[in-house]
Amino acid sequence: MSAVEPQISTDLAYLYDGTPEGLLSAIFAAYARHEDPAEVTRADAYQPRLLQTAVTIPTDAAHAERVSAGIRKRLGSYAHRQVMKSTLSGRPDAGIALYRFVRFALDGVDRRDCASCRFAVDCARRTCKRQKMAAINDVTHPRVKPFFDAVRSVDNECEKIRQFARFQHLKEEGREVWFARVNPKDAVVPLVLGHFVERFNVQPFILYDEAHGVAGVWDGNRRYLVDADEGMLSLPPAGADEALMQDAWRTFYRVLSVEARYNPELRRKLMPKRFWKNLTELQPDVPGLRRS
């Protein structure tokens, strides 16, 4: 495919449906159609430009799988993991950043120069690790930097969710679940679900991403990723110990602050305000939840 010079078309935008598969399908389409789109963006975030043709790329799981497998094979598992992370990014420019990186990286691997490599005799010109990693390590390159930033912001968002997800114990006759509501910028639930499954494997839980309508579910045996709207959730009421524990946590948080060190700017930096609405300790004491 890469033998044919892609058509330089600054007036072309690819729109995809916002899913990781959709984004990978768009990358597939660019190769399949021998085109070089100037924009790859989510259909809902697209801002039409004068003289620009927007092409909606249908999501095709088989195409996405081929792109994914190709990247893993030719760029290695590390780059593949970073690519998969970046597909979950919520940034509007994540699509084009990924597309431009993939083009750049695959072209680099194709045009690899083994003349100066001392292992070239043995490797029979198979792609070696040095070649695979060349693009992703070139972090200052204009084709790589936006992708690198997108991946880093996804990593940071994962850490924020690991820190700030707060579970509530919901329980009634025959039903019991631990429920956490989170609002990350990027759709990171699939990336952090494993972390919570590892430590909370004894409790069935739901990690609900209200910003993207995705729920990570652990039923005690298996994990699921479910598309879920607010309306689809039917949750049991809070368990008997929930009020006491929330009160304990709020009390603990309140007394722990040292007055002489008061520094709310630092707190806002480390715990951005957008997370506060789902943090137990920053909710006002709900009268109904207080212990008698």
Binding site: N137, V139, T140, E159, R166, F200, L256, Y262, N263, E281
Partner: protein, 467 residues
Amino acid sequence: MDVVQKLEILADAAKYDVACTSSGVDRAGKRGQLGAASSAGCCHSFTEDGRCVSLLKVLMTNVCEYDCAYCVNRRSNPDVQRTCFTPRELADLTIGLYRRNCIEGLFLSSGVIGSADGTTELMIRALSILREEHGFRGYIHAKAVPGTSFELVQQLGLLADRLSVNLELPSAQSLSLLCPDKTRQSVLGPMKRISESIAEDAESRSLARRRTTVYLSDARPRRAARAFAPAGQSTQMIVGATPETDWQILGLAASLYQKMQLKRVFFSAYLPVVEDARLPSSDHVQLDREHRLYQADWLLRFYGFNVEEIIDARNPDLATDVDPKANWALNHLDEFPVEVNTCPYETLLRVPGIGVRGAKLIVRARRQTTLGEGELRKLGIAFKRARYFITCNGAYLGRGVPFEKEALHARLSSRIDGGGHGRRADKVADGQLSLFSSVDAAGAPALDAAAALLPEAAPALEDGVAF
């Protein structure tokens, strides 16, 4: 009194302990058991003062037999309501909060109730309930109460991930002045034995892992045995309550890292929480000094600096207007500028404005391309500071400013950002020791006496720790 009220009292009493780290041990989750630990740790919340909340930091009890002058829980303080958790209450509370992802685990300290041994036994009971009944695999930091018999510390270490003995004051004289019930030996002795036990345990486990012996199946040692304090030990010093200089404090910290293999030494700016004639009564909290000490501590632990490079007896206090690394660079201008494209990683770490992350990125990026100014700016280092000390592909980037100590000092000095609120915002930038000149008449003689007792150069004692 219900659990929440107890928590309120016992968390309030524990908050002056600054250590709140859940780092240093990797323990994967296990099917059917609650919890896991990762070596990077995790901060679950941040209080209004911007400090992280990673562990449920509480005292077992705030009843205390000791009478340490600076401590809010001292025996002679009548203003504090005294209470005590039962081991089960504490274990259940920890599990309840852990299941809600509020904490990484438990930080358990205690006042001395009855005897040190009795107190430690209470703590062991609570930790056994957590580890054995609840099968808890999260992080536990336990404090070894001074004066506890070592058999009990051994048991405690097998239940906890990290142990700590608080040094509290950075010299034996200050310790005897402010903590009449503690001695140098009662603090350093347990610390030394804990570090020996950690080393011994790590060694025997590594031998067992090597499987040099062929065991019959029933004689094979059980793998499930817990490690002794796998996340190491830490300690804490109060800064500003006594007249020690930064040089003495950092020298002590460095020898603790070397001789006792401590994982962390924490510094805590002295906050007046109780009135005592022996203590400075000034409202001035030395938060900036604490900040500089931590910067120096980072240089020791992550940047490959020796303590002699950071501070010496002639200038025994850290500069307040520039950070310790910039200060070192200003005094060693003959080693700069360095070429970012070729110099080793260790040299990059010594450039002001380049940290561990920046240095690693530079090393990673320069394998692929030659770094110029544009590339360097993209790497997220503090280019504004680093430019005076580097060349990019042969070009010096700090043109316009003479390459002299005074001129560069003016460019590098910056105020420590302590936020726009609270006591830090309207602080006066006075010298560090001015605190002691404002001590009232009753306190002055005692402090002068302590200062006179301090040796000129801290001599190395038989166990190698200048204290």
